[in-house]
Symmetry: C2
Subunit: 493 residues, 2 copies
C-alpha cells in the first residue's frame, strides 16, 4: 500500500468534500470551547445572513454557519486547525466594503472569520517610515492616529471608506492616490503575517525596504481574496504627507479630458499629480441634483485634481496643468482657494455613490469597475454610455482616469430592471477586455467577475493560479467558490 | 491500482532523477534537429564553461552540457518540451551580470538557455507609456532607443550595466533609482510572457496599468531566478524623463550621513530625490587612488545625490538638501555646475567596482549585498568595517542608502585570503539578518545566499516557496539547485 491509498480520495480529485451537518455541529462546539468569551462565536441567524451579504452587491449570497471573532494570530491558528480537521470553509470578513461577493457564505456551512476586532496598531517606526498593525485595522484610522501623533507620514492606499488592511491585501486594492503611489501590488506591504491552510504561520519578509531573497510570498496573498491563507498582521510602508492643492477642469468631451491627462502625466510636472479623477456629465448632474453643493456646477465631463508639493512647486505644477487643460479645450478651470473649498470640491468625488443614489430616489445602484490602457478609455466610455442609453438605464461614471480605471454606477429598479442592469455590466466587462483591459481594476473578482477570468487571462494563466491554490490549500477550505472560475459555475449574466 | 502506482516514483519524492548520460545525448540530438541553424546549439567545452561561471563570483560552478540560443517564445517552448521529456535541467542565461551563481551549470547536464539573442523591442505605446520587448533586451539599450526616437520616457530600473530584462525579472532587481521608483517587485512589469515547465505559455496580464483580477502571477516569476519558468517577453511601464541635478555631501561619519538621509526623504522635498548613494571613506580613497578624477576628493563618508524636477523645483529641493546636510554636520556640499561635472561625479559612483580593483592591483573583489531598515544601517556599517579591519581585509562600501541597501566590495588575495573573505561575507549577512534585514537587497540568492534563507524567513516561509516550486515544476527542471535551500546543501562558509 503506498501513501495515497490511506487517504479517502486522491489529492487531485476535483470535487471538494466538506463537513457533513453533523461534523459541522461538532466543529462549532469545538470553536465554542476554544473561544469561551461572550460574542466570540455567534450563530444568530440574522447575523449569519448580514455577515454573508452586502447591500451594494447583487450576487447570489448564502449565509454562514457560524461567526468567529479572533483577537490574535494564535486565535486564527485555532480556527484554521478546527476548520481543517472538519473540512469547514473559512471566509475572512472585516470592513465588509467589497462589492463582488467576496465575503458571501458558502452553502451555509462556512465559518465567517470576523477580523474586525483585530484592529490594533502594534508599532510605528518613524525613522524607517513603517508601521505594523493587525489586519482588521482601517486605513483611515491608521492615518488619523499618525496625524494625532503629529507624525508627518501616511499610508497612501485609499480604497472605499471603512476598508481594512486585510481586505485591502485580499482585493489588491488601490484608490484615488494610485496614479501617484501605485496600488497594493506595489511595495506598500513590506511584510505580512499569514496563517496558512495547514495552520502554520508565515512572515513573508523582515523589515528591510527591499529584498531579493526569492519571489516575494507576500505577493501571493495580495489579490488572492483570502483563498490562500488568512492575513493577520501587516508591516506597512509609509510616505511623507505633502501639501496638496485641489483643482477642477471641465471639458466638452471625454476624449479631450483624457488627452489632457496623458500630456499632464508625461510632463515634468507629472510626479506632482497625486490624483486625477474623471466625473462624467451625468455624475456632475447627479451632484447638483443631490443638493450637496452650495452652487451647482456646469454639467460637463470634469476632471478633479490633487496637486502636491511645497507652495512653489505646486504653483508651477498647477500652472502647467491649467495650460495643458486649456490647450485640450477645457472650458473652465478652477482652483479651490481655501481649505474648505478644497474639501468640498474633493468630497463631491468621494460621495459619488451617495450623489448618484440621492439623485434618483427609489433606485438601487450596481457599481462595477474595469480598467483599460488610458488611450482606450474614451472609446470605452463612449460605447458604454451609448449602450446604457439604448437599454434605458441611468448611470454615472467616475474614473481614476490616470490609471484607465473606470467605475460605472448603474441605477436600476430592483424589481423590473435587474436583468437589464446585469446585462449592461456584462457587456461593459467584455468591452474592457476587448480593449486589452481587465474585468476589474480594483474591486476584485469575488463571485461577480469569475466568469471573465479565462477570457481575460487565458486558460493557462488561470490554470497556473489554480495550481498554486491547490498546492497551498489542497482541501479548498479557504474562501472556496471565489476568484477561480470553475466548470460548474453558472454565469450570473 | 491507483493512478500513482503507475509512475516511477510518488510525486513527493525529494530526490530528483535527471537524464542519464545516454538520455542527455539523445536530448541534445533532438535539440540539434529542432534548431538546425549554425550556432543555435553549442557544445564547445570552453563555451560550456564560460556560460556556467562568472569571474566576479566565487561559488562552486559546473559547466553546462549544451547551450541553446532561441529567438522566439515558440523556440523556448521547443527547448522546454525536450528538456521535460528527458528530464534535463534548464538554466536561463542572458546578461551574465549576476553575482550569486544564478547561471552556474548543474552537474554538467544542464541546458544553458542563452536568451541574449532575444533582444528585440516589439512595440512602444507612447500614449500609454508602455513598451513590450523580448527578455534578452538590455535596459540600457531600451533607454537608448527611447532617447534616439525622442520619446521623453524611460524604464527606471537600473541594475548593473549589461543586465537584461529577463535577468532583472529573475533576480527582482533594483539599482540606484529605487529610492524614487521602487524595484522590480513594484509595478514596472505590467505583463510577462512565460513558458512554464509544462511547456504551456502564459501571459500574466493584459495591458491595463492596474488589475485586481486575482493575485498577480507575474509576481511569482519576479525574484524566482528562473526556477518557475522562462520569461520570454515583458511589457514594461515607462515613466517621464525629468531634468536632474547631481550633488555630493561629505560627512564626518556614517551615522550623520544616514540621519541626514532620513530627514531629507521624509521632508516635502523627498519625492524630488531620485538617488542617494553612500560611498564610504575607503571608497573615496579608492576613487582618488584609481586616478579616474581630475582632482582628488577629501577622504570622508560621502553621499551622492540625484535631484529631479524642473529648474525651480530642483533648486528648492537642492537648497533643502543642502540645509539638512549642513544641520547633520556635513563638512562639504557641492553641486555639479555643468553636465560634464555631473556626469563625472556620478560616474565615480557607477565605477565603484573598477575603482576598488584599480586601487589594489593584483587583488580580486568579492561583491556582496545586504539590506536593513535604514535606521539600522550605521550599526551595520560600523560593525562590518570593524570586522574587516580585524581580519586584515581591504574593503570599500557603497550603498543605496535611501533603501538601507549596502554593498561591500571585499578585496582579497585569491590564493591566501579566500577563506578569510568568505568568512567576512558570512558574518556580514548574519549581522544584517539580525538587524531585521535581508541576506540580499538586490543581487538575489542563487547559490551564494541559499544557506541564509531559513534564518531570514523562517522554515514555514521557505516551505511555502518550495510548495509553490514543486507544484509548478514537479520535475524540478527549472534552474535546479538555486534559491531554495535543501538539507543536502553544503554551506560555502
Amino acid at each position: 500500500m503506498n501513501q495515497y491509498e490511506k487517504s479517502e480520495q486522491p489529492p487531485t480529485a476535483s470535487k471538494t468534500k466538506y463537513a457533513s451537518r453533523t461534523e459541522l455541529k461538532v466543529a462549532i462546539e469545538e470553536l465554542r470551547a476554544a473561544f469561551p468569551l461572550a460574542n466570540s462565536v455567534v450563530t444568530d441567524p440574522d447575523a449569519l445572513k448580514t455577515h454573508g451579504s452586502s447591500e451594494h452587491s447583487y450576487h447570489p449570497a448564502a449565509p454562514h454557519a457560524v461567526i468567529v471573532r479572533p483577537t490574535s494570530t494564535e486565535d486564527v491558528v485555532k480556527v484554521v486547525n478546527i476548520a481543517r480537521r472538519y473540512r469547514v470553509p473559512i471566509t475572512p470578513y472585516s470592513g465588509a466594503t467589497s462589492l463582488e461577493g467576496h465575503f458571501s457564505g458558502y452553502e451555509s456551512i462556512s465559518i465567517c472569520l470576523d477580523m474586525s476586532g483585530m484592529d490594533k496598531i502594534i508599532n510605528i517606526n518613524v525613522d524607517d517610515a513603517d508601521l505594523t498593525c493587525q489586519a482588521g485595522a482601517r486605513w483611515e484610522d491608521i492615518n488619523h492616529v499618525l496625524k494625532d501623533k503629529n507624525i508627518p507620514l501616511f499610508f497612501p492606499l485609499d480604497p472605499g471608506p471603512g476598508a481594512t488592511i486585510g481586505g485591502m491585501v485580499g482585493t489588491g486594492c488601490s484608490g484615488t492616490n494610485a496614479v501617484r503611489y501605485g496600488t497594493a501590488r506595489a511595495e506598500w506591504f513590506l511584510n505580512l503575517t499569514v496563517v496558512l491552510p495547514n495552520g502554520r504561520v508565515v512572515k513573508t519578509r523582515r523589515r528591510a525596504r527591499k529584498s531579493a531573497a526569492g519571489f516575494d510570498t507576500a505577493k501571493l496573498f495580495i489579490g488572492a481574496e483570502g483563498t490562500l491563507g488568512i492575513v493577520t498582521e501587516a508591516t506597512l510602508r509609509l510616505t511623507p504627507v505633502l501639501p496638496t492643492k485641489v483643482a477642477m477642469a471641465q471639458f466638452p468631451d471625454v476624449q479631450k479630458a483624457v488627452s489632457a491627462v496623458q500630456e499632464i502625466l508625461q510632463s515634468p510636472q507629472g510626479p506632482h499629480i497625486q490624483c486625477i479623477e474623471l466625473l462624467d456629465d451625468h455624475m456632475m448632474d447627479a451632484i447638483n441634483t443631490a443638493g450637496f453643493v452650495d452652487k451647482p456646477y456646469p454639467i460637463e465631463d470634469t476632471l478633479f485634481f490633487k496637486i502636491q508639493g511645497d507652495t512653489a512647486s505646486a504653483k508651477l505644477a498647477s500652472d502647467v496643468v491649467r495650460s495643458i487643460a486649456t490647450k485640450h479645450g477645457s472650458s473652465r478651470f478652477q482652483f479651490a482657494s481655501t481649505d474648505h473649498e478644497a474639501e468640498e470640491m474633493w468630497q463631491n468625488r468621494k460621495y459619488a455613490l451617495m450623489s448618484s443614489l440621492a439623485s434618483h430616489p427609489g433606485l438601487r445602484c450596481w457599481t462595477t469597475d474595469v480598467c483599460v490602457p488610458v488611450s482606450r478609455l474614451p472609446e470605452l466610455v463612449y460605447e458604454t454610455k451609448k449602450d446604457l442609453k439604448e437599454c434605458g438605464l441611468h448611470s454615472t461614471i467616475v474614473g481614476h482616469v490616470g490609471d484607465g480605471n473606470f467605475h460605472a454606477l448603474i441605477l436600476f429598479d430592483r424589481e423590473h430592471e435587474f436583468d437589464t442592469a446585469s446585462g449592461a455590466v456584462h457587456r461593459l466587462v467584455h468591452r474592457a477586455v476587448a480593449l486589452d483591459g481587465t474585468c476589474t481594476g480594483e474591486h476584485g473578482v469575488g463571485l461577480g467577475k469569475k466568469e471573465y477570468l479565462i477570457d481575460e487571462l487565458g486558460e493557462n494563466t488561470v490554470e497556473l493560479m489554480k495550481t498554486v491554490k491547490k498546492a497551498i490549500d489542497p482541501l479548498n477550505i479557504m474562501n472556496p467558490g471565489k476568484l477561480y472560475p470553475d466548470e460548474n459555475d453558472k454565469p450570473y449574466h
